[in-house]
Symmetry: D3
Subunit: 236 residues, 6 copies
């Protein structure tokens, strides 16, 4: 399985879905990280520092990372040119599974960083356009149909309704903390790890494990049989 995880800023994948990625890498799946800015608008950390922090975090996760310029931190537009840039990335990495920031219409809404919303929507549309053969400007990259698009939640202060999918990440919680800790420059202001760990703890307790992370699906999950889902999330 080939997984592409897209983050708007250098630390978003780490806060939102890193423990899932860590587990998939350990299971032998190929994970690629794609970061859409260098976090240049943050109160702390230079772009150079943040790129370096990202590379370290990617090593902890165990996945290669690339950067895509969509106009810069706090300036990412949801528009046609960016949609095509993202489409080209999907055709290049040819993933079966894509992870994008929870955006727009699936619960989280727009009341969050506008770059998160823009990237979530760009990835959703790009996953569609990637299979149309005639899209001008990217015809040299052969069309590609992804299998699954999942959304992850970054640092929304409040939960976003029940996730569609939940995964126990207790076994890799320490490695997750290590990946987040790579983003040293971001720890100077607000404590993002505190927030995401408290949230993962809440979701974990609710299903009877230590820590859990939720995902939201873009499409119905196609099962062969109900036996495809042996674990249960019913606990309380």
């Amino acid at each position: 399985m080939n997984i592409l995880a897209v983050g708007p800023h250098p630390d978003d994948v780490e806060f939102g879905c890193a423990p899932i990625l860590i587990q998939e890498v350990a299971a032998g799946h190929a994970v690629q990280l794609l970061v859409c800015s260098k976090g240049e608008a943050a109160s702390s950390g230079t772009p150079e520092e943040r790129v370096e922090e990202t590379r370290q975090a990617a090593q902890v996760i165990g996945a290669p990372v690339e950067f895509l310029d969509l106009g810069g931190d706090c300036r990412i537009e949801y528009n046609a040119p960016n949609r095509l840039l993202m489409t080209a990335q999907i055709r290049k990495f040819r993933p079966q599974v894509v992870l994008a920031p929870l955006a727009g219409e699936k619960w989280a809404g727009e009341n969050q960083h506008p770059d998160h919303v823009a990237v979530g929507r760009l990835v959703r549309d790009a996953a569609r356009l990637a299979r149309y053969g005639g899209v001008e400007g990217i015809r040299d990259l052969p069309p590609h149909s992804i299998g699954h698009l999942y959304y992850y939640s970054i640092t929304q202060p409040f939960q976003t309704g029940p996730p569609d999918v939940v995964i126990d990440v207790g076994p890799v919680e320490e490695k997750w903390e290590a990946a987040m800790a790579c983003h040293r420059s971001q720890m100077r202001t607000r404590s993002y790890p505190d927030l995401v760990l408290a949230r993962a703890r809440t979701l974990g307790v609710s299903i009877g494990v230590e820590y859990a992370v939720g995902l939201w699906t873009n499409d119905p999950l196609r099962l062969r049989s109900l036996a495809d889902i042996p674990l249960s999330s019913r606990y309380f």
Copy 2:
């Protein structure tokens, strides 16, 4: 895997989720049907005829069927006594997977037969109460925790938003028709099979197969890995 499928009237399971059950039986899973009335309010068919039709349909599906009296067709209440009757059934059958009519809050709403809504809610609550040890009146049946509660759609005239889960049922479409055809008395008025087959055809075409049936989840699906879902529902 042990599956309990609950229907308010004699033909609801057949219209709503029979092809999934047919496939699970073929895969070696144990399926139990539970019907909560004898359809005595229908314009056509005596209760005796309808019980007999149900038994024939159950044979086509390949599963035993039992009847539970909740007050009679068009008289099923969503109340505490019925909730406990249903809880007792869950403790008796001890299923890992429960299938109930789509009711109330997951899209379908209350704009449907009130018995459908009542049974959907009774099953949802009963699946919860079944694990509480002290519930009076059913203490002789040991508590039981189900693993999954899925909802199926019966004959809602309009679709109910995208399902959470979708299953290709093309391979058993003929057997499904045969199971529905057992309910001869109900074919005299409106053509329910036409409706549900047209709906299954629409959902099927949308994912690139002949016929498909959707389910709605009550709880997040707990995965071990994203690789648990190898098939994709993305087609158009």
Copy 3:
């Protein structure tokens, strides 16, 4: 009655609302088709072929067709310049009724082709701006107030909640198929007619006719009396 039907790509009006248009033409109403790209991003079919297919389909429908360039297939932006281009079209055709792709907030959501969403929103806004006298750049076209804005659904894989309005199109189903069949180049990949006919069959059976198409309203329907609606959609 003067009807303007707007489609993002050459075949969208045909898939989404052609049978309604065919019936309105037969009833003596003036229908104008407006197509906002030449489908140049499709996997099959050159722009020239697709324009020709569109002209043939328009002849089957019995309505003239014009093309509007909004940036090209897969590149249509929801922005101010396009909003004014669309506003100019509405002032030019001066329709009482406008049909646009179901977009954004009325059920269908953004999980569809981004051009569909963009055109739906552009038409909605243009129908508003068309009556403001001072809008720069289009002052030579006198302001115009439309009477009704309806949305139609194109090829959303799943239904989109109950439509607000439903129309029996059984009598023109063959002509509808003929109109869709004009788009020969699009039949090479996925079978769109199969999808939209299965959907129209489902909606048709649900109201007791062979085929039906639904519309969603942008505004409350203003009636003179409840007797304005003599037909009923209640069947199951």
Copy 4:
């Protein structure tokens, strides 16, 4: 056209949809009022006074009125026995159009008088059960299929989202006030007419008339042609 308007308490139809009824009576349609309690829990007015006030208001509207006992004011249950009592009424009056309090799922929600919610739901379900031939206890009344179910809003403090249907009632506003004024006992405490007239004025101004009343549909409106809706609600 045969219209049945159902109100939980003696003044609810008057506050909620009387002007529409006044206009339909004037247009020659048969209107029947059905009131489901005698308002015996009100702070002011005896049941006898309130019945008399209701009869006077019905005369102003120009329609006969009947009373149905569903357990008493503040005690109306949404349960199977009441559902059958209501079903019998629908079979008795055999209306093509039914008007019921806006309840439960169409915007208004449950945050209102529980009798309003209960009656809205009872009517919705009764309109369905009325066509099932075998419902025990009411078999002496032949089955009946209604054509339309509309909901009206009573005294919800806040509007309930845009109505699906809107009707200009300016021409009968004075007669409407007269009908409301019949409920003298209810004017001693809070000024309900002030509230509903302010609301009707807001809706009226919004469509460019003096006063308007909105309705919510239970089912899609089935049109023969888009020309069935000649008036427009677009004004601001």
Copy 5:
């Protein structure tokens, strides 16, 4: 200020809103606890033990507690008799502020313990009926209008959308733990305090404090000036 906090089972107020109550008691406000069952259906703990645990927890909170019999644990119905029993309680305690379990329509939905939903709805309706003078059976208690109805969340596994109101409860977190710990019998199975503390921690971090509890409003908050709300919940 006079506060009435209503809980379905002996420990629900403790898990859901105890720290707010602890702070209001400390500020000199009068708090009354009302518990609607003795938790007799729980897997652990006799009714006698649970009553005793409740009394101890009430002492920690610093408020008197009473019990109301609504049919028993797992048997609480949302019906007219219970509605009147609850109305009588509101007339008896005459609170300005009422706290009830989050139920039905404000986010939390019905996918929780049915007693929680029933009590939430009963309190909502009772707060309305309490001001109607003529309600039979409780006329000896003079009518009462409450000022505010807030909902609290008990042990919903997932968060329920952003709360309308949020209160820093960090200063009383230890006392809150002590109140929960009084319910010794419930700690034998699942760890409810772990769940609610993780949730309060998540909400707390999100607003920049240690622990916070959210409430949902039944009605708009009426302010005199925007200066009534000096504190901000904006942090991340």
Copy 6:
């Protein structure tokens, strides 16, 4: 308290939230008006006239007014450059409270003037970006964290669901009318004051006062104690 009220066109603040501002000025708070176009697309009134009308209305309100060019009336884009222009304004005025047009996701939706939606979203995002230290192009203005973001409704024809906050504005209704009347050029076409006064009257009657205006919150309201909200909106 420092309040910034942002309006897309010259009269929007006057129609939407002027009476609240009038009261806050009277209470000694500092109010700043920011208008994002000169209304140059209107059917009546030149830009010069409209600026003059705005200045007069601002004097009635008792607050200074500034203009911000975001591309012109009917051309305001929700994009990154405009987001930064708005962010700079927030850093310049450094308000504790910001009032913006109700947009997008909180009930009102997109079915309104596109400039209203764009400005509502721009302000929401700008209030977030204003605290990020590294945003390029506005680094000379020191970061600023606002305390509260409230949305006001302009001239939506229909109400937008219950507001989160409601304020009695009866005492300043005449001054409000005077402020609206300053926009003489806009009175030639549709009567906006009629609409907003009817709406304020409806909301007022609903809470037992003459006129009231509602606001919608972007974030949970953080209270110190439930006693922070002494007034009640419960009346009917």
